[in-house]
Every structure is written in C-alpha cells, then in structure tokens.
Amino acid sequence: MKELKLKTPVRYLINTVLIVVLWTLVTLFVAGAGLKGEYYRGILITIGINIILATSLNVVCGYLGQLPLGHAGFMAVGAYAGAIFMKSTPASQLLRAGNNAAVIPYIIIAVLISAVVAGLFGLLIGIPALRLKGDYLAIITLGFGEIIRVVLTNIDSVLGFKFTYGASGLARIPKFTSLNVIYIFTVICLFLIHVFMKSRHGRAVLSIRDNEIAAESVGINTTFYKTTAFVFSAMLAGVAGCLYAGYIGSLYPSTFKFMKSIEILVMVVLGGMGSMLGSVISAIVLTALPEILRSFSDYRMVAYSLALVLMMLFRPKGLMGTYDFSMGNTIENIVNKIRNGRGSKHE
C-alpha cells in the first residue's frame, strides 16, 4: 500500500482553510453571544495577546533552552513604543468616526515600531545576558526587566517633560486592537515562529539547546544564534505589548512587574517546553480558567495556584511534552492508518 505524502502547497492550503474556518467560528460565536459578546471579545483578545507572549517566550525557553525572566520588560517596551506612536496619529478620531479601514496603515506601522524597539532592547540585553547560563541568566534578565519597569515609572522626572506619565499611567491610547486585528497578528506571529524554526536557523537554535558544545564542534555560531533567538523572541513580545496597549487603552508600569514574566513562563512550561501547540493551549486555558472560576471569586486564585502545583506534580514535562502539531502530518497519519487497516483486511 502506497503511503500518503502531502505536498507542501497542499499542506499550506489545509492550514489556510483551517485558519479561515476558525476565524469564522470565532466571529459567529461573538456575534451570537448577544449582550455577553463584548465580554467574550475581551477574553478572546486577551487570549490572543497571551498566545503571542507564550509562543514568543517558547522560542527562547523551549527551543533555545535558556530561561529568561524578563519577558514582561520587552512587552512593556513594545507597548509604550506602540502607544506613544499611536497617540501621535489621528487614529483616535478615525476610530471614533468609524473609519476602521483608514487606521490599518497606522496599526501596521505601530506594530513594526514596537517590534523594532523591543528587538533593539533584546539585542542590548541579550548580548551581555547570554554570556551567562541557567539560573544566572534568569536572574540577570529578571533584573533587566525590573530596571525597564523602574525607568518607565520614573523617566519623566529625569526628562523634565511628560513622556510615559510614570505611575499615573499613559492614558487615552487609541483602542485599535479589534478581534480581527488580534486574530491576524496572532496567526502571523505563529507563522513566523514556525517558518523560522523549520529552517537552517531553527535547526541551529535547537542544536544549541540539545548540546551547545557539540553545536560548536559542527561549526554553529552559537553566540549569533542565541542572540538571534533572543532578539526574535523580544520582537514578538513587543508586538504583543503593542496589541495589548491598543486593547486596554492605558498603560501602567506596574502591569509589567516580574510576576507578569513569570505568568508567561508558567504558560510555556505548563504547555510543554518546545511545543508551540502546548504554548497555545495553555495560553488559552490559563486565560480562560480564572474567568470560568470567577463565580468562586474568593477561591479562584487559590484554585489556580493549586492547579499549577498539581499539574507539575503529575505531568512534570507539561501538557504536550515537546510534541509539535502539524495538521498535514495528522491527516497523513489518519489516512495511512485507514488505508492500512483496509489493506490488512483484504489480505
């Protein structure tokens, strides 16, 4: 019996169809929810932001095998950069006038600015930090993340003019992050991570995780690839920050405390280090779970932390381990299994 082997264009087509179907379902769901639609929309947008945050951290954490604890810092930098840009544009008036299409170019520019600025910070921090390993890298990135937060809180007093508005918050940011915007950017981010990892560059990153000394021995420029993965991850976190700013409308430095970084890390580890599907699922579950538990309001955070501990005790490698999902492979396997099943009956 000949094995089914899907061609690359067919695989791309399958995934495109899947993305469109999912988008339709999400849109219909929110539209059909009536009065609760606005509430669900908010949760779905938060889920999208958390998916980008978790999968981007997974690049450094799961694929590169390092443990950074400063992800919230890059998110913050991206959020402020995007927000300050959007405030300088006529986006607010356009949105109020209902002219959503005219805002699209501004959104694209804002996201790019956030990515570049966060990427620059990633480079600045990554070069010194990546000389260290393990828990030392964790604590030094945590330090950088906290420094970013303290600077955002106090920079106005140094500059002498209003820039980030410190602890009182950067308010009246145009709320440009609609469900469609978050959906498109989430898909783009996931796609970018996928194509990066499935290339010679991605292989090099994985080989550093598996054995750095061996990677050097086959000529992999480990410093370059560590820095690249770190910067790439920071850029995506910046994008997530920008979209967060456009959703929430006002930014406070205290949002980006190190607990935020840890929340994102928890998503990655629970999903399974090095599994993109795992990061996506746990970002969804961990965003929705506190909402579902809202009726037990007093106990929900206790339940959440208890769930975290129990999960680790019973599945220490996370939900998905290192398994990575591929729609094409799944279809191949199912079809081949059915064919083989039939084949053996005929014999």
Binding site: D135, I139, I140, V150, F258, V269, V302, Y304, S305, K317
Partner: protein
C-alpha cells in the same frame, strides 16, 4: 551629606541588609543542595510575619513566645512544602521544579489573602528607643537586628563546617550520588537544609516586623527576590557570600535613598547585580564550575 548622616545611613542599610542576609542564606543553602531557586522562600517570611502579628496583636502573647511560634511555624511550613511539593519531583526536569516553587508561592500568597485579608496589618513596634553613639542616633532595633544576624551567621558557619549534619549537607551539595553511596540519607539531609533555611526565614520575619511593623500577603515576593539577588551577588552556596551580598544590597539601597533617588532603589540593586555578574559570573565568593568535554 555630613559624615554622621552617612554613618547613620550605613547603619540603616546594615539593618535591612541583615534581614536580606538571613533570607539569602535560606535561598543559598537550598540552591546549593538541590539547585532550586525556591520562590516560595520569600512567602515563608510572610507567613512568619503574620504569625508574629497575630500572636502579639490578637492573642497578646509575650514577645518571646510569639517569636518561638513564628520560627516553629516557618520551619514546619518549609519542611512540609519540601516534602509535599518538591520531593516527588526530584528526578523531574529542573524547570518543572521551579514552576512548582512558583505555584507554591502563588498558593501561599493567595491563601494568605483569603485567610488574613488583602489589607496590610500594622502593629506597635516591639522594640522602641534609641541610643546616642557620639553624634549618631542609633535605634535599638537596628542594634538588635544586626547583632542577631551576625550571631546566627557565626552559629550557622559552625554547624555547616563542624557538625556531622553540616558535613552531610556539604557532601550532598557537592555530589548527590556519591554522598548517597557514602551512606548519607538524602531525604533527611535535604529536609534538614529546608528546616534550617526556613527557621532563618522565621527569624528574618520577626526582625522585618520589628523594623517595618507591617505584614501583607505580598510582602514576601519583592523581599524574596532581593534576598535571592543578595545570594547570587555574594556567590550562591556560600554562607559568608550571602552575608556580604545582603549587606551590600542593604547599604546600597540606603545610600541611593539618602541621595534622594529612593524611587530608583530597585533599579540600582539590579544594576549592581548585572555589573557584578558580567565581570564575575559566579558572584563575589562563588566557585566556578566548568563543563568537562
């Protein structure tokens, strides 16, 4: 800044630094033995502080009993956490262990919020009064805090270097497998380490309460991180290192606040950590370990 003001700030810094150092010791010992950044350690201080608060403010127990209660509860809590949450994961990936520690930390914080309420609890200071040393006014709290922590540090050095239990602890942190082959009970030694670390946290919590007279559910998280920074700065796994690191951070904070930048305190602490790590990747007194090819 006048000279006497500088000395006063130094003493201030040493007082905070003593608390950091005591907490840092717990981090350092646990890290040395099972390579775990025990995130829940800071929250044990929080629990200890609440115990002291309730014992004195609600039940009007004499301070000595309150202190003993705080230390006992902290110790029991530390050992329980180790037995329930960390022991089953001894062979799991280290990151799973770290996430478990984070989970325990969340649990303690949220549990405390549920039990004790989210608001801060304030109490009357345990130790009042001060003494003039030349030109400088030094509070009794500062003197007691610094003295207590120095005495404990010396005691601990003695325990770790001279007693059988201390030797077992050092052996396990050097090479777990070999220590086991030499007949050292892994479970007992690790529990012992957690017990000592948590007892120190309990003492730290009392000293903290003496200085700041406030307890809140999240007080442990930043205190814990600072103390961990102190442990890393001094060289993780080293007792004098934890002390040097703790004092360095305490004094640094006091000086930064004294020149009018108290808002930048945290940033200064982390900046110093980053600079030290870049030039001395294992901290002041840490040992360098190179992977064998």
């Amino acid at each position: 800044m006048t000279f006497s003001l500088l000395i006063a700030q130094l003493i201030n810094g040493m007082q905070t630094g003593s608390v950091y150092a005591l907490v840092a010791l717990g981090y350092s010992m646990v890290y040395g033995i099972i390579k775990l950044l025990n995130f829940a350690h800071g929250d044990i201080i929080m629990v200890g502080a609440y115990m002291t608060y309730y014992a004195i403010a609600s039940f009007a127990l004499p301070p000595v009993l309150a202190i003993i209660l705080a230390i006992t509860v902290s110790t029991l809590l530390g050992v329980t956490v180790e037995k329930v949450a960390y022991t089953p994961l001894r062979s799991a990936p280290r990151l799973s262990l770290l996430i478990t520690a984070i989970g325990v930390s969340f649990l303690l914080e949220n549990g405390a919020q549920l039990l004790f309420g989210a608001d801060q609890k304030s109490m009357d200071p345990l130790i009042t009064g001060s003494v003039m040393l030349g030109q400088i006014n030094v509070s009794y709290v500062a003197i007691v805090t610094i003295l207590v922590s120095v005495v404990i540090m010396i005691l601990l050095s003695f325990v770790v270097n001279k007693t059988k239990a201390g030797k077992a602890m050092r052996a396990v942190s050097e090479d777990m497998g070999a220590a086991q082959l030499m007949g050292i009970s892994l479970n007992r030694t690790i529990s012992m380490t957690f017990a000592i670390g948590s007892a120190l946290a309990g003492i730290g919590s009392v000293l903290y309460l003496c200085a700041y007279t406030q307890a809140s559910p999240t007080m442990g998280s930043m205190l814990g991180i600072k103390a961990f920074v102190a442990a890393v700065l001094g060289g993780i796994g080293s007792i004098p290192g934890a002390m040097i690191g703790g004092f360095t951070i305490g004094i640094l904070e006091a000086l930064v606040a004294a020149i009018g930048f108290s808002m930048w305190k945290d940033a200064a602490v982390f900046l110093v950590l980053i600079i030290v790590l870049l030039f001395k990747p294992t901290g002041f007194l840490g040992k360098k370990i190179q992977e064998k090819v």
